[in-house]
Symmetry: C2
Subunit: 317 residues, 2 copies
């Protein structure tokens, strides 16, 4: 498949609008004062399934042929993508099969089950996942929808950036968390077409800095460690997302774990909204002075809100 | 002073609008499904100082004579009112003195200090509070602004109800947490003038059911216990608030502690917003089937979001 373009994002916007929430853009006087900037938080934590992932999933489902749709979709994921794909499939009366590792958190298993997936388990290794997936594809002919490295997924995630221009005018910079790069590449496609002068910055945990290194070394590298608290950002870039990011994104910066926790806490305490660690990563970049935002109008994409309410990081010790 | 009326609420609305946030009204598909109703959450947890209290405080400050303003204001409070009065005073360049018990939570002391109050401490008894307050009034001539039982405070809190009609049309019921009754009486004044057919219901923890008993026995009674998790609702009704509530409010219902925790958790998990226990009490009334809301359009006033992020009730055991 070809790389997605702005046209694909605009088309995705038409595909997904009726089924997603137009998420609010929140501001905070206190956080603005602290950061000496005008910050706009695009709240995808309020999105259906609690994360932006529903955008890409709905677009991918919408772009199935009738024949593909009749055979259903399949994915392996222990995160938000599994819930998103299952819900998107259900909304269009399509069967969704999800493979999860046996040791996935019970609340995530329960959520996927509740959304109505045909759920299968496998040993918690990449090989077991892939074998199990292939086995089920061979049986059912289902279409595999990966969690980020797919043109329809990328175009769908880009609608989170496209939407911004319906609501706010001047923007100087847009900060996006980067893990596999689906959101960052999609947003960059939208933004750089509409307003190329806007700075699009990826923000990544320093502990899992493969996107930063890939961007700077000009080739996809794998993370050396994946134990960041930002569990949505543990994956490496894919072929599609890397290609778009290297061409469209202005910079990638990395942040410390403790800045992520500090940013998350600031958002919880001052803005009274629940963000997961991954969603707080852009603000961490500002708190660390990695990105100069003085007096600028800056959008931060709050990617999701599926935090574990039983283990809050500031209560860890 | 006379009982406040609808005119006072409308006047308060003009007084406070420029300094408060017009808080959003959020809905949740999942919570609606669960409750079989159309619920509208008026999010005063997003209000300045994290609670509706800033409304009354600003109105009270605005209604001081120049002479009173020059001598400053004073209150005793360990809760949101102290922060609200301090901020309201600061916005109008008026001095605020706050008396807090020595054992008040450090984060609340810090918040009041940060807002710029002249802070004094006393022993943690009602008598010590009152003596210390009187002593400081004698020295400074400051005007005492209580936390709820005052016509200007009540009229100010009523603006949270008045605002609803700028944003949503049909409403069948409005559910309001009740502690001292400032919010409930203010909202009732606004709502019953504009649309008398709307049911206005107070919701109170069963453990501290003094408002329920006062409403039904026709006289102010004191709570027997005040150890509800809903720490904003531990106070009893005052003379002004009782008089308005008995005349304007349709009913008061009480809810169990575990329903309050369940409602709070449902809001955190599904709506991704932070509410304090008191703010979840109206939803608890629906979860307990204390209030029939089937297919109705119901506003719940989420009074505040100043939850203790170190001690979440579902992690207690």
């Amino acid at each position: 498949m070809e790389l997605p373009t702005f046209k694909d994002v605009r088309q995705a916007d038409r595909h997904v609008q009726q089924d997603i929430h137009r998420t609010p853009i929140l501001t905070s006087r206190l956080v603005n004062q602290r950061c000496d900037a005008h910050l706009f938080f695009k709240c995808e934590n309020f999105q259906r399934v609690g994360a932006f992932k529903i955008r890409g999933a709905l677009n991918a489902i919408r772009l199935l042929s009738d024949e593909e749709a009749s055979r259903g979709v399949i994915t392996h994921s222990s995160g938000n993508h599994a819930q998103a794909l299952t819900l998107a499939a259900r909304l269009k009366d399509i069967k969704a099969t999800v493979i999860m590792p046996e040791n996935a958190p019970p609340n995530k298993i329960e959520a996927v089950r509740n959304y109505g997936a045909d759920l299968h388990f496998c040993a918690p290794t990449q090989q077991a996942r892939e074998e199990k997936t292939q086995e089920l594809i061979d049986q059912t002919g289902a279409t595999f929808i990966p969690s980020y490295d797919h043109p329809h997924i990328i175009a769908g995630q880009g609608t989170a950036g496209y939407e911004l221009f319906k609501e706010i005018g001047d923007i100087d910079q847009i900060l996006v968390p980067v893990g596999g790069g689906g959101l960052l590449s999609g947003v960059a496609l939208a933004v750089k077409h509409i307003r190329p002068e806007i700075n699009v910055i990826g923000v990544e945990p320093a502990l899992t800095n493969d996107a930063y290194r890939s961007f700077n070394e000009g080739k996809i590298v794998q993370p050396e460690r994946t134990d960041t608290i930002a569990d949505g950002l543990r994956t490496s870039l894919g072929n599609y997302t890397f290609e778009i990011i290297r061409n469209k994104v202005d910079d990638i910066v990395t942040v410390k774990e403790k800045s992520i926790v500090e940013a998350m806490r600031l958002i919880w305490e001052r803005m009274k909204i629940i963000v997961e660690p991954s969603g707080a990563v852009p603000l961490a970049g500002i708190l660390e002075d990695q990105i100069d935002v003085t007096d600028e109008r800056v959008v931060l994409i709050v990617s999701g809100g599926n935090a574990d309410l039983h283990r809050l990081p500031w209560n860890a010790d």
